[in-house]
Symmetry: C2
């Protein structure tokens, strides 16, 4: 079993995203954070291996973060870190790794400095105890390993955001569920991560899309042989039908020049043409039956 410090310094190959939210499973809210993270990982050449959406439930959170911390190099959680009773992510992750919850003075100082007074709380005081102050404090009482360097456990990727990215067990990064905050904080982690990527230049993966008017069954034979040829060279070939529109063939891999060298062969093989975006050649009303 790797130590938290080992997890916090090793090369990052794989990523996972844990969405904690009754509101997503209940169909009230559409999760956009995992899709944002998928694009972000792709742009960094980081392989996102797993997304899971679970309930705001202590045992579910504990099981999922332990397993993900163990299996993947870089784990992000989203949600459950607000001031209300239904926010139990910090406590649950603390329990998962047997860490106490401790008031984080840095985060608290930033909260006091940067969180603007809410219009509905003109009389709020940081110095007088109140239910509102206690609720706010819940957001800065954080799972902490006192034996480890604090600066590796509490990141503040943005000057203008007080919310910390609490890094637990060396690789579990706890982010808020509000998409604007999630996105800003995830983006802010990039400089911390890039030196630890397999490609420390962070060039990311390359993807080429080739639109095809042919039926999937008509291109299956060509694609099977083609995938077998380029797979060993690190290129994944995908085929995606679309409802009453052209299908899309994708080539994904690290070696952009090699992928570019394959485009003409695929265009010929599927009687297609390269597109910048899936669907850019869509025909109004559709034009072909799905098979």
């Amino acid at each position: 079993m790797a130590s938290a410090d080992e997890r916090n310094s090793r090369t990052i190959h794989t990523a996972a995203c844990l969405i904690i939210g009754d509101e997503v499973l209940g169909g009230k809210t559409v999760d956009t954070n995992s899709a944002y993270m998928a694009k972000w990982c792709f742009s960094l050449g980081l392989s996102l291996k797993r997304v899971e959406v679970i309930e705001d439930d202590e045992s579910e959170i504990i099981e999922a973060v332990r397993r993900m911390s163990d299996r993947y190099d870089f784990v992000v959680t989203s949600g459950g870190i607000g001031p209300t009773h239904d926010d139990i992510t910090y406590e649950s992750i603390g329990k998962a790794f047997s860490l106490p919850l401790i008031l984080n003075e840095d985060a608290y100082a930033r909260m006091k400095k940067l969180s603007k007074p809410h219009p509905s709380q003109p009389d709020f005081s940081w110095d007088v105890d109140s239910p509102a102050r206690q609720a706010k404090l819940r957001m800065v009482i954080l799972p902490t390993d006192e034996a480890r360097d604090q600066s590796k456990q509490f990141l503040f990727p943005h000057e203008d955001l007080w919310v910390p990215v609490n890094v637990v067990n060396g690789n579990v990064h706890i982010l808020p569920g509000v998409p604007r905050l999630f996105e800003k904080l995830l983006d802010g982690l990039k400089p911390v991560l890039v030196p630890r990527l397999t490609d420390p230049e962070g060039k990311g993966l390359a993807r080429v899309l080739i639109s095809t008017p042919l039926a999937e069954s008509a291109v299956a034979g060509f694609l099977t042989q083609f995938a077998a040829k380029v797979g060993p060279k690190g290129v994944k070939v995908g085929s995606y039908p679309r409802w009453e529109q052209n299908g899309t063939v994708t080539l994904v891999g690290r070696d952009q020049a090699y992928i570019e060298s394959l485009v003409a062969e695929v265009e010929e093989g599927v009687q297609g043409k390269r597109v910048a975006l899936e669907g850019e050649d869509d025909v109004a009303g559709g034009k072909k039956p799905l098979e």
Copy 2:
């Protein structure tokens, strides 16, 4: 260990959704099927407990479907059942439950009857072997338990769709990833499921939204006490901040009349008002800082 027939007949309390797709994890495609299923489950009063997105990888598929089949009453998979080399869901799920892949005559007959000839394949023949025919056949060679009633393993919820819903191990329902097909087939399963729900009238869950202009920290105290009061009566209370807009409090449960009786108390407690949709009272440009 329950038998497949037991899994196929017991009361359904819980659901899970497995999205199989490199294209989702790679950020090319935004998964909408799990969000559709979340709303669908809610409308039926079925508790969606877990969504997972995994790669098109045999060992990942095997691990996930075995675990989900064991833990949840009703499991749906999405994706990986087309005719191309990257579609490996049927084979992998067959392996997961040690079932052979067998040509399904019903599905094949429907395919021949209902799948219109693709414009690019005017000369296609079902009676002459060709790579295209072999590719199509891959879509009707399905994991099959020959010892069990076939009509429980292959459902055709729509008269106009040839694609079967293959039900493996009694509770794993294999659906295509193309959203239009996924949604039609899932909807088509409703009549099969409703008699097995805890509420066989399929009335679903009730949800009330109450918009609040207050900071989350200001309502946290009230909501904690309120949630403790109504939780034992089956009502879950959620609180969701939104960027520079009113927050939303939700009440969710089966007893609509009881939930209705609580609205006035919550409106008073959070100085808010009931809304039909989250955000319907949004103010252009936002109006309050997040705390």
